[in-house]
């Protein structure tokens, strides 16, 4: 249907009315999507433990109810994110549900905190009244006053700025100062190849510090560069390592001034890193990897070149020489070779040992070209080998599981009989008998414990293999788009169920059985 990528692990989801849903992330962000469009999001320093849907203000639309780690409960309008309802618990919220717990036919909201406090709420129409805030007029006045003061301050700043005789010389920078930015792949650092974002000014002003705000690629939400006092120059390089092949938005704030300034100008800059920024374009020809996926796209080659220029980090734009295109890339940090070929017959072939990466490239290209359905032929010997092995493992593990189950059943049987015998012995006061059967029972018990552990390990291995099999199927499906993609998943599932390895491999190759 669709796939969305958020900046952090998604911790909670809730359906809202019609086509909307709310979500919460582990970094304290909450938000609402309508279909695949994000309506709003808000980040807080606390974490959203749970999100829920409930119509707290009785307007017929569900609000997003959020339970926070600091004990707050908010109700937010699902369209705008505006807070319509608030409550506070003394400790973190544990869960939120709704139900007719008073048996009056209504659906009431119930919140529970980690210390066991439970509160119930019902729909309250008062919240919706147009001037529900008692200080409606006052709030408006307050807002207007602060706006006025901010504007006046800005005005006085311009006046001061045009007054060249102002006494603070150090805070002056030429008006034509500009901040420039160059993004390049740094492959010299062999241990940890990364992308260098180099910022520099166009005159002798220096960059005091750089703050880069970006979700998902740093430890927190920001990364700071603060050179030592004597190392200040007009340029600063920020190393960035994208975690996966997703386009990232960098919001850069640079503090610019003179060497000994205490006041700085703030220059802001937004830059998007292309999706495949970590793929480095190589010069010359290289030997192509054995694995490949090939498909046909009815599209002018110029459009494909446009896609290449937008989605890869290139020093100079790629242009067409002749009717065919052949590009060699090195995927960092794994150093795997990726070859992207476009033939004159609209045939595109991507060579790479990493099927996942090929899938991502295919998806991105298809998305760019608005291709609805795409069939592909794929040859990935390493994946096939892996699949064979995994399937084989699974069969073995399943056999072991069966064996263990029967063992356990027989063990259970003897336990039952042992227990009865102990009971009998107790009734007829046969002390020796009790001892004997108890010892036997203990042996049985330790046996069953042991076999339980084995079973447990076996189960874990099985789950692991299944996960990997599913991952392979998903990656293989990503080589196709639209109907063929969905069909592949279906076919493969059926084949896995029947344990039909040749069929799986055939589907992987051709997309059909």
């Amino acid at each position: 249907m669709g796939e969305l990528t958020e900046t952090e692990a998604v911790t909670s989801l809730t359906p809202l009315q019609k086509t909307c849903f709310g979500y919460g992330l582990s970094n304290g962000t909450i938000g609402v999507y309508e279909k695949l469009q994000r309506l709003w999001r808000i980040k807080s320093k606390n974490k959203a433990i749970t999100v829920f849907n409930y119509d707290i203000d009785g307007d017929g639309l569900d609000e997003l109810i959020i339970g926070w780690s600091n004990g707050k409960v908010d109700g937010r309008n699902c369209r705008t994110g505006e807070v319509v309802f608030k409550d506070n618990f003394s400790s973190a919220v544990a869960g939120i549900v709704a139900g007719d717990y008073r048996l009056n036919g209504g659906r009431d909201l119930i919140c529970c905190s980690v210390t066991g406090e439970v509160r119930g709420y019902q729909t309250n129409k008062v919240l919706r009244a147009p001037g529900r805030r008692v200080n409606y007029g006052h709030d408006a006045v307050r807002e207007l006053f602060s706006k006025k003061q901010n504007l006046l301050l800005e005005l006085s700043n311009y006046k001061e700025s045009s007054n060249q005789a102002a006494e603070v010389v150090k805070a002056k920078i030429p008006m034509q100062t500009k901040l420039q930015c160059v993004v390049a792949l740094n492959e010299k650092d062999l241990e940890k190849p990364h992308i260098d974002v180099t910022l520099f000014t166009n005159n002798d002003t220096v960059i005091r510090a750089v703050l880069v705000f970006c979700e998902g690629i740093f430890q927190g939400e920001s990364h700071v560069l603060h050179p030592r006092d004597w190392e200040l120059t007009r340029s600063v390089t920020v190393p960035i390592t994208p975690v996966s092949n997703i386009p990232v938005d960098l919001h850069i704030k640079a503090l610019i001034g003179q060497i000994d300034s205490t006041n700085f100008h703030l220059f802001e800059l937004s830059r998007q890193l292309p999706r495949f920024a970590m793929l480095q374009l190589l010069k010359g020809k290289h030997e192509k990897p054995k694995s490949y996926s090939t498909f046909i796209v009815k599209e002018r080659i110029q459009r494909i070149i446009l896609w290449v220029n937008q989605n890869f980090l290139l020093q100079t734009e790629v242009t067409l020489a002749g009717l065919e295109l052949e590009l060699f890339f090195k995927a960092l940090p794994t150093n795997k070779l990726v070859v992207f070929c476009v033939g004159s017959d609209n045939k595109i072939t991507i060579f790479c040992d990493n099927m996942g990466l090929v899938g991502e490239i295919t998806q991105s290209l298809a998305n760019f070209l608005n291709v609805n359905d795409l069939e592909a032929r794929a040859e990935f010997p390493n994946v096939e080998e892996k699949m064979k092995m995994l399937m084989h493992n699974m069969v073995e593990l399943n056999e072991v599981r069966l064996q263990l189950s029967t063992d356990m059943a027989s063990c259970l049987d003897s336990i039952r009989s042992h227990v009865i015998r102990i009971e009998d012995a107790r009734i007829i006061e046969d002390v020796e008998g009790v001892l004997k059967w108890t010892t036997a029972l203990a042996t049985c018990n330790s046996d069953i414990l042991k076999s339980y552990k084995v079973r447990n390990n076996n189960h874990e291995d099985l789950v692991k293999s299944l996960k990997q099999i599913n991952k392979c199927i998903e990656q293989s499906s990503k080589l196709r788009v639209g109907k063929p993609q969905a069909r592949l998943v279906e076919l493969c599932r059926a084949a896995v169920k029947n344990n039909n390895v040749p069929a799986i491999l055939r589907i992987f190759k051709t997309g059909i059985n």
């Binding site: 408006a140 901010n150 005091r208 920001s222």
Partner: protein, 710 residues
Amino acid sequence: MELVLNRIDYSLVGPTSRHTMKILPNPDGKGLQRIAIGGHDGVVQIFNIKKSTLVHSFKSLPGAKINRLELGGMKDHLQDKVFIAANNEVRGYNKKGKLFLAFETTLTEPIQHMTISGSDLMVASFHSFQHYFDCVEKLNATFADKITDIINMPSPNNEGVRTVIACEDRTLRLVSEKRQAVVVEIGSRPSCLQLADEEDLHVLFGAQDGSIGLVSFGFNAQVRWVLEGGGSGCVNCMVHFDMSGDGQRELIVGRDDGLIEVFVYDPMQELPVKRASYACTESIMSVQAGFVSSPEHPEIIAVTYTGWFFGLTTESKESINLRQGDGPTNMSSEMQERLQQLRLEIDEIEQKVVREREKYKQTTQTRPDALSIVPKIEINEKFTLIPNEAVYLLSIEVQTPIDNVLIQSETPLRILDVERNSAVVSHSACDPEMGNHLLVTYRCQVNTTRLEVKVQTTEGQAGQLRAYVTVSMQPKCCRLIKFTVRPLSLHQRSHDLALDRPYNSLRLTGAFSLAEVHSWIGMCVPEVPDKVPLTSEGVLSYKNSFLDTVLHCVYAKGKAEFKSDNMSTIAVLKDVLTKEATAKSVDLDISCEIHPESTAWMLGLVHPLLAKQRQLGAENALLAPLHELQQQGVTLPANYQSILDSETEIVENMKSQPAQLERLKSIICDLLVDIGKFRGGNARGRLAQLRDLLEQYTHPDTLIDFFLMA
């Protein structure tokens, strides 16, 4: 009786200093009272409030920043003249705004504090105090420590005016022209003064750590009572008024962290009792009370740092809304008119701003030589030690909303988040090799003008802490503020001599001047007066707020002596002083003396702290299992039940002081190393053993034995 306070916003008057707003008394004591405010822009305005809008009777032209506004008048007459202090000048206006006095004092620095009674005018800058009678100088005094407030005492029998001066060295001094000064020592740094009652020589002081106390300068000058602050902010201003109408005056307090509190004096209780409080998000610079918007309902009025002028009235919300015509359903024509008026004003300014913005843009493009100047951002910043917790509180307040704050430190520190903050914190990876031990960004939510951060320092590790404050105003700009973390950062000035402790001592002799040694000490410990001692010998006493150990410094030209019961303190001092002296190429003769019992004494001091932390940790670990037992219906023995009963306290303590146990352990380890150094050995090899010992710590004797073994 409950006191309910409802906020009414009146205006935004622009940034103000402390004590720059007063309510004028009415001649007949009836009707609405006028208000006088002086701002940073130098404007003095006198107005009253009609239907929550300001009706000015006078507004002066902009000028130098007004630091203080006081009321005065002829003796035994109505005190309705307004006096303001700006630069080193004092100006007097009558209530109609007529200027009747403009007088330049001989102070070389701007006047910070002022108090007036009759024809007596007292002014003070940072260090000097002057007394004028009819504009003729009567008295002049200089103090080494910063003056934080002054106030005149009533003089019922014409003895001449006496003034109380609050100084940062934790003293209140009663000075007068004729008599010798009376000095009262108090426990914390005073921040403001308020007369307690008209007859007796009682004065209230508010302090930096949030405490409030009463000092009597009567027959036996001493502190009568102190109400501990309990973690609340510095007291900025206080006033007395009968809010409840029971004939008893209440004490109204405005604090740095935005809290306004009302205390009642209960004759049955020794200390005043808190009756009501209101939390605002900006620091309160002045607070007053009277009848300003309604003749029936007493009202507290306050001005914040950014200039919000608002009232807290005892009138009920419904009644206010009815009067002002503000409500959910019917917004009256007056309210709408007021809104309309404001919108018009804003539109006008907005247009101007757009024009200027365009002009600015054009200049950037057309004139290559043009320079752009960053507007100076006024920041109200504080970096003060909270003694009970032994952490520093860093507070930053700006006139305009803050966009983000970057905190950078070149020395190892730990940043503790303050619950009140709503900003999103992000710790950035940093490399100590590159001079960054800490890089933290605080991205503020909209309309935040104040940010608080707690900083935990370690003694012996000194350096600079920087905060880059970026405001969300066009053109975007940022200001750097620097704070110094001194090597003995957890020490605070004290009057407690504690003579009976086993002191280690450090003696320095050499060819240095008094000023030099004074500045060296200033590099080691906080709260050293800016000025060199006025006598030939300087004496400073300190207490370590974390461990309660003591440091005494006695220094003069050519010699200095330091005494402390904590060996580590002496070691840090020795390091810093020798480094400084070498840098200045002064030859120092250093001698050290270790008191044999000091180690045992010091470990004895640490013991209760360590034991408490261990107990806290153990109890905290027990909480979950005990809960489980309780749920299963097991009757718990009394001692375990008591742990469960004090659960909130335990959790609270664990939360507020993370890693306190680690902090104590590392202090003991440092002590071992430092003692080893003085004995001429290296004790680092024994650290692992010490750590093991600390893990199973129960009694100080085991540690003392270990320390003595070497």
